[in-house]
Symmetry: D2
Subunit: 349 residues, 4 copies
């Protein structure tokens, strides 16, 4: 027990936080030594989350970097955007490894951050220092680092679906349209009319068309890969379900490529990557097939009639889109197997 990595979770009373707790319960190398909440310090986490009764016994701690550092080696900051920007510097100074889930350190250009997030950006040096932890693409850069910025939920589904085709030059990157759908948990636990059960049940709802803050994150990565600026059309929509993201992506094909060739390209790209599963031609994954797990499943439809490729990519927004990917990054930072503690079969049905 003494040799385990000690981790703390800031924002443990959000959905990202409780998912970290769920996965750590079965991680052989990790011990949670502090669950932290700025608003509920001193209370039991089971008061607000009765499903954690008997699971976490230690009361919630407050947010004090020195105290966190005295208890933990690594901290996950599952905080709202804007909060991490202020908190993370002191955590790093206190000598902690940090994996940030907030989004504050994903964009390398502070002016772009401010344009889309409407907050002051963190310092340029911190933005530079943060490694964008998309394990299947940038995993080598994560190894041994001490500050990781965890990708957003929509960008994870979208980029894992687009990158192999874009990198191979099979997709015209000026033609990319992304029609993304998410379960309601993506908006967090705060109450609002949009996530009122009676308003969202039996409802399908579009929001923030072309305005979502995940757009520049997607464009930054695609631009890095193609070497030229990329702009995408991006639609976000809410599905009457709790978990799951499907990103449906469209682009003009460059050259003729059958579904078979595309499947093979992707399987090659994600060879030895335990969490990406590529479906056979003519079969597309549905969100339930990854529910509760760290998988990203992908399928294709190349259409000779229109010369376009449709890509379907699904994840569990709270796992691969947040906490699971964060743990995958932790594993890589620590030099462990990527899937340690994450081998959970989807919960089905």
């Amino acid at each position: 027990m003494n040799n385990k990595l000690k981790v703390a979770i800031v924002g443990s009373t959000g959905y990202g936080g409780v998912e970290l707790i769920r996965f750590f319960q079965n991680h052989p190398q990790v011990e949670i030594t502090s669950v932290i909440s700025s608003s509920s310090s001193g209370e039991s986490i089971a008061d607000g989350f009765p499903h954690l009764t008997d699971v976490i016994l230690r009361p919630l701690d407050g947010v004090d970097p020195a105290e966190i550092a005295s208890r933990a080696d690594l901290v996950f900051t599952a905080t709202p955007s804007g909060v991490s920007a202020k908190l993370v510097p002191s955590l790093l100074e206190a000598g902690l490894k940090v994996i940030d889930l907030s989004g504050d350190f994903r964009l390398k250009d502070g002016t772009v951050y401010e344009e889309w997030y409407k907050h002051p950006a963190p310092s340029a040096s911190l933005l530079e220092q943060a490694v964008y932890g998309m394990a299947e693409v940038y995993g080598d850069e994560v190894k041994g680092k001490n500050f990781i910025s965890n990708p957003g939920c929509y960008p994870t589904a979208t980029l894992l679906g687009l990158i192999p085709a874009v990198e191979a030059g099979w997709n015209d990157s000026t033609s990319i349209i992304i029609d993304a759908k998410s379960g309601v948990s993506g908006a967090g636990r705060g109450t609002s009319l949009t996530n009122h059960y009676a308003e969202m049940n039996e409802n399908f709802k579009a929001y923030k068309l072309n305005k979502h803050q995940h757009i520049p994150e997607i464009e930054q990565v695609l631009g890095n890969i193609t070497g030229t600026p990329v702009t995408v059309t991006f639609t976000t929509q809410l599905v009457p379900m709790t978990r799951g993201i499907m990103s449906t992506m469209y682009a003009n094909l460059i050259g003729e490529h059958s579904d078979r060739e595309i499947v093979d390209l992707y399987r090659k790209y994600y060879e030895n990557r335990p969490f990406v599963r590529v479906r056979e031609p003519g079969i597309w994954p549905s969100t339930k097939e990854v529910y509760g797990s760290n998988y990203c499943d992908i399928g294709f439809a190349a259409d000779p009639r229109t010369g376009r490729l449709t890509i379907i990519s699904v994840i569990d927004n709270l796992v691969k889109g947040a906490s699971g990917q964060a743990i995958q990054n932790m594993n890589l930072m620590m030099g462990w197997e990527e899937n340690l503690g994450l081998n959970m079969t989807p919960v089905y049905p």
Copy 2:
């Protein structure tokens, strides 16, 4: 009572059939004189649909054109595709007015029908005779006719969303991508693993990518409007809800047009049309806002960054996408007000 139009419903034990019954209960000019089911003749419809207890007292009739003609003036055929192709000729010969909901008479070219529907096509003369009853577009052609082919659910949401921009030449019709989502009732009452509650709940699922039989219907209408063949990319997806379609449509803008201009264009196009509501710029309709009603609500996002227009169009698939539109067609055929018996506020929440 004697002056009322007598109507019969073939396929009254499907979802389209029971919706016709619901609306006719409040239609001042119509009397249902026969509810017909090939499989349950002689039984009470309330045995299979207890919500109709005390509503329809007459037992189900069998499918006999002469008998139908003896009881009714107009018949709705809410039958599976392939069945109407065989049945409708005899109904017309028996002197009945016919509104067909099956899809068998929507495509003017029999070879296209056979390619997409995989059944033998009806005769060319019948295909010619059938008026495509999209009231807001072809309403004048419906008036006084006796054989209407009712549009499909996906085409209704999609075409009402696309036509004004395409007709105005503001949308590049070679660039149209349609990402459509439907509630589960669209697949009818037959049981299958796809509509098993435990499989579809908390699930979002793509199917029939670029293969759906509604594609040629959309392309036929757009081709007629532009005067050149149009091909579209078309994705169909199931939402874990019972009712509702959202069609999210993408196209390159020709010229610069603000959301305001587009809203104005659409409001002009749909002036005096009681069932199309165009949202203000920056506001998009959700499916629940038309639940149970005959409305089609539309919103827009023109994106100067990408030069693309996103159009959001929602309907209730069983009402505006089937039975409601069929009644609207009936009203037009009979020379009545388009909205007679259809002024039902959406059921909310």
Copy 3:
């Protein structure tokens, strides 16, 4: 148009209010002349309820009894409990007929009210004056009156299910246990963690065991019928759905009675009552079979093994449990047919 009854709705931006609007759109004798909201006066109701776009054009009015009286003959108060207690006296003084949906005037004994509702009770004379508008039981008392207290949602389903057996002396009224389940809309539009979509979806939740304020309402009516005080065990539970109440009721049978005899007893009791439908023995109604309608459907299971009778009663909580029943009361007050404007088939599926 000039001869129509003019009605105003206080609390029109709650779920009860918008349901009143939905039904009045097809009521031949009523015109809505004022929709009133204390919080949103001057705004369009369609801003908060886009499904009402083009339906209600007049902006929301404020709460001013004299102004209401200048515009309307009858007012529905769909206000939170505690608010009506203060508002209704001035509405009555202004000469308006009042149908109150709040619950403030249902209990005849002010001390019982204060114990369960935790507010000061209205004056004893007003409590006396208010007629408890359960149309199928007290309809004759409603006729011609000008102040009706509309029954609660749980009591409606429960009392319509219990009264015939209790009145016949077939149920031991000291043994009554009520296990009630409601859709989430019953708690109104206010946001809370309980009605957060991600918390309530895939969840079934008990609350307020033996503490719900509808208990004394049920006991008051049963006590009146039996002539002795009745106490009941009453469990309230939330179902992951928007609408619908099922009340499952248990009591010891007095004497031996078959399901057939019980069905006949109930059909006799509710003869000529358009909104109560009694199922055949061995068949029980489900909530969807009354969705969006004013029906109350009832079924039975008499168990010779245990000597107990189980009664299943379902309603739509927002219709028969609130707005529909209120309109039914209005029809009776005005001397119209009980079901005028209320003949809406349930929305199915």
Copy 4:
């Protein structure tokens, strides 16, 4: 790896089967050596359950006792009732340990079995031999045995909720009424109109009142505990959700007992039992608080007004109500820690 227990799963393409696979993926002492399906032998399980892609690589085996015995030490029979009755004898003869999930071996009296299950009963000696594996009550009898009959889903929630009070003599066992609610997955993967999404969504539905085959199972256990025959009133109802059972139980209290005393009684009874969590007075568990986990959570409301005790007990029907409890029984049979491989926090939200 070589020292692991080899297990086979008959009925691996049902919901119970895939849940066994999910839990075994993290069980340190078990290796699945055969997944068996009578209908799909030779196919990949991932064809029908894509969520198991990359998880189970071995194709499905057929049902052949000798072959099963050559590959496995212990077999789970997650088969329909009636099938196990015929299959289990040959599995036991082949020397396999058997844990049966079908229900065929739960009732000790074959005539009672035939009355409720409508199949021929297994032999009396096998019924005698089968140990009823309710671990928290009969765990000591399970240890070292080789044939366990796994309890039903409704009886698990119900008996864990009732037994401590009944055994203490605080509940009048002649007064027990059980109002049980289940998610749709309880009826399995077979398609039917009842589990059609469009029919069950937004619906709450009662079925099999006083006829459910779990009634004699509950009565058998309660009768054993009290020493006299017990009959219960038992209502089963479907909730529009996939997983979860809530059993709401009513009985007359013998003596006066506060919620506090009752909570203490239950905590004492379930001391050191890792999977039963007893809520504080005034707090009741909801089904989501045990989702995907092996917990049974229990809460109480003792009502001095009526002298009755209400007990709320929740489980995940597919885990504690089926596969999780089966693994718990396996752990006890093998002399391992009861919770080995089962320490999964509920999936929340």
